[in-house]
């Protein structure tokens, strides 16, 4: 049967507000048309981050720099008392902080690397000053070579990770989809590192963990969008009046709600870690994880839409076939203004029916007099109730 005999118009598609359109995946945001804007925005952020990285560097934690941290739970020990103790050991430059957590107040002291005997002496002296047994002092000591090792390992892991992911995406999709994914990854990492450099937040192994997770998210996000792009590729044709960029744009709009929802679902637990775990309950380690994750997650959601996809469009538009389609559409578009027009795309429905149906193509929303950036949803067909 053809849809034509039963053509039912959903009367007038109900007017939806911006949220309604978003909810129904009917937004027509021209992501691709404003590629330059997104790239410029990202470039600015990256430049700021890089500049800060070069001038200010990163505030590396003791795991990278070497050193020792003592945490002395005590309600009485003051910062200046602790300072006195450390001056006695020639550690005048020690960082001393008061920390309040769920189980009470404590003093945190960070010194340079000390040899084992001295380290124990420092701990005992601090404990004595605070009037607590030495075992209650939390101590963390890191030799200077450990940081080098873990940095190197993380870097190696990163490189292998990128290679394998490139391979995976190339096999699963195509190489031209791997490149934008990697670009988005690098973007996210640089942004996060930049934020850490700018804010002077301490970089710990937890931060590295978070950074690596971000990579996972970023790829995950990108793949969901690209999967849709892959599926929509068949829409690209001159008869449809759909260029590759249009199709990417359509895919982005279709997956926009999912991207937003996913980001919300991912951000909620992380916010919970940050706000409840760290701020309310005072577990500082959770904060280390949470912050980097939050920054990276937001950057990842941004980059999969605003960096990876436009980049893919740019790369694919260079392919002869897509260039050809674009040329044909543009010449036709030029000869047949004004739009709107109706093209009749042939879509193959999954159940095998060939449906020819009129698809209204609204006026180009995009720039450069190009054709529509969006294919509106196909009208409902009925008679398929199972």
């Amino acid at each position: 049967m053809t849809a034509a005999d039963v053509a039912f118009a959903p009367a007038q598609p109900r007017k939806r507000g911006p949220f309604g359109r978003l909810y129904h995946g009917e937004t027509k945001i021209d992501f691709i048309g404003r590629t330059k804007l997104w790239f410029t925005l990202s470039a600015i952020f990256l430049m700021i981050g890089l500049a800060s990285l070069l001038t200010r560097g990163l505030n590396l934690g003791i795991d990278f720099e070497g050193g020792a941290i003592y945490q002395i739970p005590s309600s009485t020990l003051t910062v200046s008392e602790a300072r006195d103790v450390l001056n006695g050991f020639g550690q005048g430059g020690a960082k001393i902080q008061e920390v309040t957590s769920e189980s009470g107040r404590s003093i945190s002291v960070q010194t340079d690397t000390l040899d084992p005997t001295k380290s124990t002496q420092v701990r005992d002296a601090l404990a004595a000053k605070a009037n607590i047994p030495p075992e209650q002092v939390n101590r963390q000591e890191v030799g200077p070579s450990w940081g080098k090792e873990i940095t190197q390992k993380a870097r190696n892991a990163l490189i292998v990770f990128l290679l394998v992911i490139t391979l995976y995406i190339t096999i699963r999709f195509e190489f031209k989809m791997a490149v934008p994914t990697l670009a988005a990854l690098v973007h996210d990492v640089l942004i996060t590192v930049g934020v850490y450099s700018l804010s002077g937040l301490e970089v710990t192994p937890a931060t590295v963990v978070a950074l690596l997770t971000i990579l996972g998210y970023s790829i995950y996000d990108g793949i969901v969008v690209f999967d849709k792009v892959n599926e929509n590729t068949r829409l690209v044709s001159a008869t449809n009046g759909v260029t590759y960029s249009d199709m990417v744009n359509l895919s982005l709009n279709q997956t926009l709600m999912r991207s937003l929802n996913t980001s919300v679902a991912a951000v909620i637990p992380i916010m919970s870690l940050l706000v409840i775990g760290s701020l309310v309950l005072g577990a500082k380690t959770l904060e280390e994880f949470g912050l980097a994750l939050l920054i990276g997650l937001i950057s990842g959601a941004y980059s999969s839409i605003f960096i990876a996809s436009p980049l893919l469009a740019i790369m694919k538009e260079r392919e002869p076939r897509n260039r050809d389609i674009r040329r044909r559409i543009e010449t036709r578009g030029a000869s047949r203004r004004p739009e709107p027009e109706r093209v009749e795309p042939t879509t193959t429905e999954p159940n095998g029916e060939e449906v020819r149906e009129p698809v209204p193509v609204p006026a180009a929303a995009g720039s450069s007099g190009r054709m529509a950036t969006n294919i509106p949803p196909r009208p409902r067909k009925k008679g398929k109730r199972r």
């Binding site: 049967m1 000591e141 969901v224 849709k228 775990g277 949803p377 009208p379």
Partner: protein, 588 residues
């Protein structure tokens, strides 16, 4: 398909509930916690110079032995790349633990004075070590070789039960450049003849000294105190405990683990070191005549010291009344061969006995290791007090649950009835995740660390996403005019594709991280990977059948505001009824 769907739904729910019930009641209850959550000390060690696999594994074996000696509840010693990570939860004397763990293990050749029972009172061991004690000149610090010939006086209680069977292989001079034949096992007094013929290797023989460990002294009278005195918790007492740190020129009480079972079953009074392990040039297990043995090659410079020792022992003189040499690694006797000749002219020495392939290789490994001991450097030491650990755990758990609840709430608000699937799915996912973690921590020594908790909290996001992908897909499908029911199956097919692609990428990432990194990152990667796999599992076996089942209920599907249709952004049914009628007629 529908039936198999219902079946898998039932199976998975029953599995999750039953396993959770089992875990909470009988098995494990809760996972073993990492140090950062439980409190304790962790030490990361790395060899100063590049070390090979064997050396690192041997180091780990040594460290494990030392840690066991400390009486730490559940130590965890793992190799991560070139690093050795030692976790000591609830260790009492932190400073000592850190010191003990990081020492360089030394191999020594010492004269064997006499065997002793383990678990004797400390005073007994101290007495044995005293130059004025029963072993006089054998235990006299190097240099001083006094008389005290009463060494053979039999302070050793162990009456030799001649359980040491004489073993194959004719004595001496059979090997190529041969020299020594060995008796292994702690030779009982007066039974040196037995060990003259190559006796059994320590691994096989239950040395007489070992048997009485728990069963109280066998026959001979002298040592009265043993029976009543409470068993010394430290094997070979405080003296045995400090053996690995005792300077070379002092005598020691070494531990003996004759069965290589990890438990000390005997002690040995040993004189000061005659030759250090660095004199070993090489050692190999070999089987020249159907019997495993160890070919030991000494450095030329070491031969003199070796001959000094062997001549004393061969003659059983006062400095070596036991008549055997002891090869000691890190305070534990690895083997105690009896020299078959007073002096060796070549530096090629054979150690024979009833070795098996494994025991010979082990001994050769020990000798080789001793020739080039790895010096381990402390890379990182962290001590977390129990309170801090509890705080972090508490905060992580609370944050996790609040996060989970908020995500669930959001999903219900957004997807209405379908949100229930998310909530139930996350519950099943969480229950299975918990059970697997408990099971792994019981069976594979996995400990849940703070990084792991974070990994799990983070994977809530990934898991939820697979629902979102599915539901958004269904939204797309109903938009093309499909019914809700049709969208369930068709949407899943498409969504599954995406979910697998995305989850696989996450999983690859997790595997690589686990494989290539150390410390916290590893724990994180493990739990992330586990959660991702579980997500795939629940997506296929729970999510789809559950949604399919849900939409079979007309009410849940159609009811305004909260129904599935509302969740998918479809118009309420009432408005569609006029259209629905022709649809029914127009269908095929």
């Amino acid at each position: 398909m529908r039936r198999s769907g219902a079946l898998s739904l039932v199976v998975i729910v029953v599995l999750a509930v039953a396993w959770l019930a089992y875990t909470l009641t009988l098995g494990g209850h809760s996972p073993q916690l990492g140090l950062d959550l439980q409190g304790g000390t962790s030490v990361v060690l790395a060899p100063k110079e590049k070390a090979n696999q064997d050396q690192l594994d041997e180091s780990i074996a040594i460290i494990r032995r030392r840690v066991d000696g400390l009486g730490v509840a559940e130590p965890e010693i793992t190799r991560q790349g070139d690093f050795i990570v030692v976790s000591l939860p609830g260790v009492k004397n932190v400073d000592r633990a850190i010191q003990v763990v990081g020492q360089t293990a030394k191999l020594q050749f010492r004269p064997f004075c006499a065997p002793m029972d383990p678990h004797l009172p400390d005073a007994k061991y101290e007495e044995a070590l005293s130059p004025s004690g029963p072993y006089g000149s054998c235990v006299a610090p190097q240099g001083a070789s006094s008389s005290a010939p009463d060494a053979s006086g039999g302070a050793t209680p162990t009456s030799g039960q001649s359980s040491v069977p004489a073993e194959p292989g004719a004595p001496a001079t059979t090997g190529p450049t041969t020299s020594s034949q060995t008796g292994l096992g702690i030779p009982p007094h007066g039974h040196l003849s037995a060990s003259q013929t190559p006796a059994t290797d320590t691994t096989i023989t239950a040395p007489p000294a070992a048997t009485p460990t728990t069963t109280a002294p066998a026959g001979s009278a002298p040592p009265a105190p043993t029976t009543t005195a409470p068993a010394n918790p430290l094997p070979c007492g405080a003296a045995g405990d400090r053996a690995s740190t005792t300077p070379d020129d002092q005598p020691i009480i070494a531990t003996v683990d004759s069965k290589h079972s990890g438990t000390v079953d005997g002690c040995a009074v040993l004189g000061p070191t005659a030759l250090s392990g660095t004199a070993v040039s090489s050692a190999q297990a070999a089987i020249p005549q159907g019997q495993w043995l160890v070919d030991l090659t000494l450095k030329d410079s070491g031969l003199q010291g070796f001959n000094d020792l062997s001549s004393h022992c061969y003659n059983k003189d006062a400095t070596c009344p036991g008549g055997a040499t002891a090869i000691v690694l890190d305070g534990q006797v690895q083997s105690n061969p009896v020299p078959q000749t007073p002096t060796f002219t070549s530096n090629q020495i054979q150690i024979t006995g009833s070795f098996t392939n494994k025991t010979a290789s082990d001994l050769a490994l020990v000798l080789r290791y001793g020739s080039l001991p790895i010096e381990l450097q402390r890379q990182r030491v962290e001590t977390v007090s129990a309170t801090l650990g509890r705080d972090s755990l508490h905060a992580g758990l609370v944050a996790g649950f609040v996060g989970l609840a908020l995500v669930a709430l959001y999903m219900i608000l957004y997807y209405r009835a379908l949100g229930i699937v998310v909530v139930l799915g996350l519950s099943v996912w969480a229950a299975l995740n918990y059970c697997i973690i408990v099971w792994l921590s019981g069976n594979a020594g996995l400990a849940l660390s703070l990084a792991g908790v974070t990994g799990i909290v983070v994977s809530v996001g990934v898991t939820t996403d697979s629902y979102i992908v599915y539901f958004e897909r269904m939204k797309d499908e109903v938009k093309t005019g499909k019914t809700v029911r049709a969208a369930v199956d068709y949407g899943f097919k498409r969504a599954w594709h995406t979910i697998v692609a995305a989850d696989l990428a996450s999983f690859i990432g997790a595997v690589l991280l686990y494989w290539l990194t150390v410390g916290a990152v590893r724990g994180f990667a493990f739990f992330l990977g586990l959660s991702v796999l579980l997500d795939l599992f629940t997506a296929y076996f729970f999510k789809r059948p559950m949604v399919a089942w849900l939409v079979r209920s007309r009410w849940l599907t159609d009811v305004r505001w909260i129904g599935v249709r509302a969740g998918l952004g479809m118009d309420p049914v009432a408005k569609e009824t006029p259209i629905a009628a022709p649809a029914g007629g127009g269908g095929r």
